[in-house]
């Protein structure tokens, strides 16, 4: 087996708070083969965005890398000097951000922004970069690309801006694309278009993808593998099909059960997981999900579950649930 494109081990990220450091990502590890796609699912505060941003050391103020390694094509992203990292960021690993409203500089023309990484990373001349930027905008489906390149971000719609962000990310033919909730700020029809665009470009270029989302259905449709995060940990990792059909973790099952279905009886209350996600930095004894878990046992509240392999998925749970559909 060839070496994975990205191998993350025991990745830990925290945020400085008034007292000490709040752990947001607590010992996450995964492998991503070249061209593979990993979906990361979780609620707000589960640490999925912190994971994505910390891989390229783009954490906001107060965010700190507490430990772990992330070997990208053999080199550790956590340990390399800024200068080397700058050559990887945007060139070999690209990022699409959540909010297209804030991810483009309002005072720069769209074309110039798309051209910027081409000039910086590929050493293209300004004029060549501009032409390439127009071609990129066209390839991501922006109408009248030459005219749009001359526009400022506020003159584009949300979907067009996200397409422009994708064009910017794809400009340098990255080996890995990290998409941090790329469709959250968009309405549903545009979401579908943008996701289709990401999938198409991924297949065309054979690039790896880490897709962060709170939407399990989106992730399952886009990625071969899915990781479910809760309380800063990956509680279950497995093939998308397996996760969807035969989830082992009670939290994953709760997420799947909470998906509304068209054939649901009208008037039936929407299923939800009772309780709230744990406050970051709270008591860490036991399983983070235990207070909300319908199957929690005594030891769940005392001992944090270790990672274990179980029938196609890797999970952190003490409980062996019966196959889905026979549930408790």
């Amino acid at each position: 087996m060839t070496a994975p494109l990205l191998a993350v081990r025991d990745w830990r990220v925290g945020f400085r708070a008034e007292r000490g450091v709040v752990v947001a990502v607590d010992g996450v590890g995964f492998d991503l083969p070249a061209g593979g796609a990993l979906g990361v699912v979780g609620e707000s505060g589960s640490g999925k965005s912190a994971l994505a941003m910390s891989l390229l050391r783009l954490l906001p103020a107060g965010g700190v890398l507490l430990g772990g390694s992330a070997r990208f094509a053999g080199a550790d992203l956590a340990a390399m000097p800024d200068r080397d990292l700058r050559r990887i960021r945007g060139r070999r690993i690209a990022v699409v951000f959540q909010d297209p409203m804030t991810s483009l500089n309002p005072y720069m023309r769209v074309g110039a922004q798309v051209a910027e990484p081409l000039v910086a990373h590929l050493g293209m001349g300004r004029r060549a970069a501009r032409l390439r930027a127009v071609a990129l905008l066209e390839s991501v489906g922006i109408p009248e690309p030459a005219r749009s390149a001359a526009k400022f971000p506020h003159e584009l719609s949300g979907g067009q801006r996200q397409r422009a962000m994708i064009a910017m990310a794809l400009g340098c033919d990255p080996e890995l694309l990290i998409a941090d909730e790329p469709t959250t700020a968009l309405d549903v029809t545009v979401q579908a278009q943008v996701l289709a665009l990401i999938r198409r470009e991924r297949e065309r270029r054979g690039m790896g993808l880490i897709l962060i989302s709170h939407n399990l259905a989106v992730v399952a449709g886009m990625c071969e593998r899915v990781a479910v995060m809760y309380g800063g940990r990956m509680v279950e990792v497995g093939a998308a099909q397996t996760i969807f059909r035969a989830a082992r973790h009670p939290y994953t099952r709760g997420l799947i059960g909470a998906l509304p279905r068209l054939d649901d009886e009208r008037g039936r209350p929407l299923a939800s997981i009772p309780g709230n996600p744990p406050a970051a930095g709270g008591d860490r004894a036991g399983c983070a999900f235990a207070p909300r878990c319908p199957s929690a046992q005594e030891r769940c509240r005392v001992v944090a579950p270790e990672e274990r392999a179980a029938e196609g998925t890797t999970l952190r749970c003490h409980v062996d649930l019966p196959p889905m559909g026979e549930g408790p």
């Binding site: 103020a61 690209a94 400022f152 506020h154």
Partner: protein, 459 residues
């Protein structure tokens, strides 16, 4: 959304600004004042004194000549440039002679004798009405003036002239005798000079005695639309030159505060957004700002001006040293909030270094608020300089006083007179300064509204 492609946020703000009538009127006022001040050298020399004029009200006109005009055949004419450019120059002045004293003796209600004191010459009559320009001053015992009468030996004097005294001393001022100097000039050099038709070699004409200057057949008259001050200097020219000084101080001090404040604030804010270590840099930098804030500003400026001389450079440094603090705070706050926006992370992804993120992405996005604050800083600085000038710390340039609006207001306050009879000396610089400051402030508000329409109507 507008139809045409590529409308930058700056352009949109400009469009909104143009829709604000108050802002456009203010812009017009600011532009008009600035242009007038720029064109001030065309309007006359603010330092040119006509000492003999004294303070004259608005609209005063006088023959254009200097206080001392020396003409000698073969020498350049010492006179106004416009007169020097003529080839044929005629100056009419009046000869200032000394007055004569007369002794009038009375006996039994009838004038017995009239004697001119100088030379002891007896004259038969003294006609005070027939000689215009004559002034009859009575003796001290009576006081007051007596004019318009004829005193003859053997006749009775007008009633009440003598009271109960037998002798009256009268002083009669000399007649103003017109004297005409005519000369021919070649390239400003006097080639021929006559006095009342008689050729002479040299003439000195006091400016105060000049009644008319005719150059090449046209009378040279200098009008002072806004009057003159106590030294006979043109008030309008001085007000416009004062505007140059005030506006220059406002603009330069603002530009310096922009340069320092924006860079300093952006660096501090960017460091603060980076990492805990950068946060320490940020805190240290802003701590320094806080300490400087605590120094009483006027005290600092006054100490600097007193110790390092009242040169305009010192003033620029003193004012900018204070103004940049607020700018740095504003920009730092703005950068801190901008740095969390994802386009900064996107810029890092583009391989941008710290400098290019600060200069290329962060600072351009702060320019809106920077422009607003700068527009409001210009009038604030002008006002501060005005205050300094008013308390006597007006600036100098190469040892010469630069009279800003503040200095002119101070002069006006001192020269206005107890009854306000020279009010224009105070009103002209005050109104000009107030109008400009109001216009700049309204313009600043308009720019703020244009850049951030959500803020409109809020303070």
């Amino acid at each position: 959304m507008p139809e045409d492609a590529g409308v930058s946020p700056t352009r949109l703000a400009w469009r909104r600004l143009r829709r604000s009538r108050a802002a456009m009127v203010s812009l017009a006022v600011v532009a008009a004042v600035s242009l007038a001040c720029l064109a001030a050298p065309l309007g006359g020399d603010p330092q040119r004194q006509h000492a003999w004029l004294g303070a004259r009200g608005p609209g005063y006109a006088h023959p254009d000549c200097l206080s001392d005009n020396v003409f000698a055949v073969g020498a350049p004419a010492e006179t106004a440039a416009r007169a020097r450019a003529a080839t044929d120059l005629v100056i009419t002045s009046v000869a200032a002679g000394s007055g004569d004293d007369y002794r009038v003796a009375l006996r039994r209600g009838v004038i017995r004798a009239i004697t001119r004191v100088r030379g002891g010459v007896a004259v038969p009559e003294l006609d005070l009405a027939a000689t215009p320009g004559r002034e009859l001053l009575a003796g001290e015992a009576l006081g007051g003036e007596r004019a318009g009468a004829v005193l003859r030996v053997g006749e009775a004097p007008p009633a009440g002239w003598f009271g109960d005294q037998p002798v009256l001393m009268l002083r009669v001022n000399a007649v103003e005798v017109p004297v005409t100097h005519a000369m021919t000039l070649v390239d400003g050099v006097v080639s021929a000079l006559t006095r009342d038709g008689v050729a002479i070699a040299r003439a000195s004409i006091a400016g105060g005695s000049v009644r008319q200057v005719v150059a090449d057949g046209a009378a040279l008259t200098l009008t002072h639309p806004l009057g003159t001050d106590l030294a006979g200097r043109d008030v309008l020219a001085r007000a416009l030159y004062g505007g140059r000084v005030s506006l220059a101080i406002g603009l330069v001090a603002t530009a310096m505060s922009l340069l320092i404040g924006v860079l300093y604030g952006a660096i501090a804010g960017y460091c603060g957004s980076l990492s805990p270590r950068g946060g320490r840099v940020d805190r240290a930098m802003m701590g320094a700002v806080d300490i400087l804030y605590a120094v009483p500003f006027m005290f600092l400026v006054i100490v600097l001006l007193v110790n390092f001389g009242r040169s305009i450079g010192t003033l620029f440094i003193a004012l900018a040293a204070v103004q940049w603090l607020t700018m740095a705070r504003i920009v730092r706050g703005q950068v801190l909030s901008l740095a969390t926006r994802e386009f900064v992370a996107a810029a890092k992804l583009c391989g941008a270094g710290h400098a290019s993120i600060i200069l290329g992405h962060l600072i351009p996005n702060t320019l809106g608020i920077v422009v607003v604050y700068a527009t409001l800083t210009v009038p604030a600085v002008i006002l501060q300089e005005g205050f300094l000038a008013f308390i006597g710390l007006s600036v100098q340039w190469n040892g010469e006083a630069l009279d800003s609006w503040g200095a002119l207001v101070k002069y006006g306050v001192e020269a206005i007179g107890t009854g306000g009879e020279r009010a224009w000396l105070l009103l002209v610089p005050s109104i000009l300064m107030a109008t400009s400051l109001i216009a700049l402030n309204v313009l600043g508000d308009g720019v703020r509204d244009a850049l951030d329409p959500h803020l409109k109507g809020r303070e």
